[in-house]
């Protein structure tokens, strides 16, 4: 799980152009939107694309993204649950 989180952080930094940020600076439990990483609605769409492109996971209803993308922890847990399934 820790390996997945690290990889996910690296992919997010690259996909969202979080210039100057390192995986170590992203708190696993911190909210990704709003006060956390400060992501916006376009970033949310990029995360949906990232999941599909890198993990072959398709989110059919973008509204589900709110819970899935709450933090690195929730996102990694979602990916893991889909991979096991």
């Amino acid at each position: 799980m820790e390996d997945l989180k690290l990889k996910l952080k690296e992919q997010i930094i690259e996909a969202l152009n979080l210039e100057g940020m390192t995986p170590a600076e992203i708190d696993d439990a911190a909210p990704m939107f709003g006060e956390g990483l400060g992501l916006d609605s376009i970033d949310a769409l990029e995360l949906i694309v990232l999941l599909e492109k890198k993990y072959n996971i398709r989110i059919e209803d973008p509204k589900d993204g709110r819970a899935i993308f709450e933090s690195i922890n929730t996102m990694a847990a979602y990916i893991q649950s889909k991979q096991i399934a």
Binding site: L16, N17, L18, E19, I42, D43, L45, V49, E52
Partner: protein, 225 residues
Amino acid sequence: MKTFVQHFVHIHAQKVFIDGVLRYEETATALDFAAFIRNVYKYFEMQYPKFYKMDDLSKLAFVGAELLNVKESTLYKSEDKGIVLMNRSSSLYTDALHQASIADKSDYFPSPAVFVYTLPNIAIGELCIRHQISGENYFFVQSKFNAAMLTNYVALLFRQRHVQQCICGWVELNSNNFELFLYTVEQKSENAVKSAHKSPIFASLSLEGNHILNDTDNIEKLYKL
């Protein structure tokens, strides 16, 4: 109605000129646009995290507008500030990036962050957000810098009292070929750049007092600096 050039910025050939003075020159050779504009952003200590998410055309426009010292624009209400830009390649470079991401049906992953920049006036939108500009805005696409068109259009905006201050200019980018020439125009001359400059080019400009009049000849000359 007389209007005056307040400040002007020129970015080309890996150099940055502000009000006609060389303020930054890239020392590394054969640097691509992305590396060059990032260096300029850092050199002038700009702080705007969204910069990194913009497409290249918007990054160029953003950096140019930051260097215009539009802090003075706080003198005007948001709705009295306008922006009129022009270029040759529209948003073609970003359009091509988007096209590349959808060309292969077996690898079809369009990026929303790229797609939203597939219009040149998105660059204007970025500047409007940054500098609280909600007045007239327009992006012309022309085969080359057209000082007369720009000057006449902006003069009309001032005459019809649509703006009291306007960011104007040429923001061209196509891959690693780029050029920016931005200037601010306003009716008041108090803030306008004084022509008592060391550069000999100022001797050939039309002036009122020590200030540069916003007319086609002056804009052509400033563009060619």
